[in-house]
Symmetry: C2
Subunit: 206 residues, 2 copies
DNA sequence: TTCACAATGTGATTTTTTTCACAAGACAAT
DNA sequence: ATTGTCTTGTGAAAAAAATCACATTGTGAA
């Protein structure tokens, strides 16, 4: 129902709203929010409308109220538990990034097939041997996974994730996973991002 | 002129076409390509039309010809030189990833403000002190940069990049850079990706 | 030969997303 | 009190992207 793009932006709004709040700002105008996410004020108002919350022409939107609404929208004001599979270069970078606890994301455990890498605790999250994944996921009712294994292993690992009950996968491997439609997959494809960037930054368009 | 989404997919098509080629495949049908990028065959044909190349209803598209066309489209059958700023966790992960030389991306140099990190060679690319960035960029006519510095440093570093002549920035910092419209910025926002993923994978929609 | 099939290329249509544009309301300044 | 200036909320329009649907055309089986 809510447009996909709106969902993405709501996540950004929340982040910037929290920063604004920390700075003591108590209300914001749509154009300020727009600046923060490189959008237009009309778009911001549309997004907030989808959220069902409103501001006043005088004071704009109340920061706290907005944050509360977005929290409700994502229905996780608390932290969301996710797991990470593949403790290689990006895997470790992500573990380090998310340990901070500044976001709503909590990487509760990580898994690897390399015996050398398991049973350690990297940035608060314990590393398990890959065989333990299924059990962990079902016991802890985990729904979301970050996949950082080599491309050659990605599909089979994704299959395991699916069978364990995972419903959403953030995939860093440069392959398109084949999974049933009820599993939501989001690809992070950096090579593609750069190629696109090169194309548009070499004066082709826009 | 060419839709942004099409540009993104063309990059993917090329990657998968090269894999197909390595496996000895000499022609592909639109639906095969569609499978590879999670799209529809009609969409693939549209994209390839934008490219101005055509196939035959009998043999589909010629793999080599398609690759050639896409290379031409991106007008860099050769490697594209980019620089990387901020040799931290993701910075190093990216250096390691792109050293392989398997893609069209070549990280020719990296820069950091930490004296400890410079003057080494990490994965083929020399690390320079940040002060040398401007000179390097203009002398080597670099147009594209990957930005991996902390959020607090991102805007000022982006300003330096812009003034040095950079036209496209792949930004990993969780802030929206304020730059003139002729600088193309692409954000990689992993926190947002995960939040979106959590939203859609918890049965909200789609 | 004739027919069914499978795939391309593309106009037309639909869906999704963004932008425009303006009524309405509060306030500050004159 | 009047005027000018902000901003919200939102229909209406536009733009961008995806999908539909079908004429067309080799190919091979009957
Ligand atoms: N590093 C980057 O910057 C980057 C950029 C874009 C894409 N990627 C992609 O992300 C993925 C990971 O990249 P990386 O650089 O971290 O690779 P890496 O080789 O450093 O790490 C891969 C990790 O996965 C583990 N692993 C291998 N098979 C496994 C399995 N079956 N089950 C569980 N764990 C397994 C390995 O032990 C290793 O720890 C790759 O698919 C890569 O193409 C990486
Ligand atoms: N690590 C991740 O998985 C991850 C995920 C999402 C976003 N990010 C973002 O990416 C950026 C980098 O993350 P990281 O984990 O690699 O951080 P990091 O702290 O490991 O690395 C930052 C690097 O930038 C260098 N640096 C600092 N100021 C600089 C300056 N002015 N000029 C040049 N170099 C400078 C530091 O010396 C350090 O090497 C951050 O903005 C972070 O928020 C990281």
């Amino acid at each position: 129902m809510t447009p996909e793009k709106t969902v993405a932006r709501l996540s950004l709004y929340r982040r910037f709203l929290k920063l604004a709040k920390d700075e003591g700002t108590s209300n914001v105008y749509s154009h300020q929010l727009a600046d923060m996410v490189r959008g237009t004020s009309a778009q911001v108002r549309r997004d907030l409308m989808a959220l069902g919350c409103s501001g006043s022409p005088q004071k704009g939107y109340d920061v706290n109220e907005l944050i509360k609404h977005i929290d409700e929208f994502f229905n996780t004001s608390e932290v969301v538990d996710v797991i990470l599979v593949g403790i290689g270069n990006i895997g470790r970078a992500l573990l380090s990034y998310f340990k901070s606890g500044k976001s709503h994301i909590n990487i509760v455990a990580s898994f690897d097939s390399d015996r050398q890498k398991v049973d350690r605790v990297i940035n608060n999250s314990k590393c398990y041997y890959i065989e333990e994944l299924s059990k962990f996921v079902s016991e802890n009712n985990i729904k979301t996974a970050i996949l950082c294994v080599p491309a050659s292993e990605a599909q089979q690992t994704a299959d395991v994730l699916m069978h364990s009950g995972i419903k959403g996968i953030l995939n860093f491997a440069p392959v398109r996973l084949k999974l049933p439609a009820n599993i939501f997959v989001e690809d992070v494809d950096i090579t593609m991002n750069i190629e696109k960037l090169v194309y548009f930054s070499s004066g082709k368009r826009k």
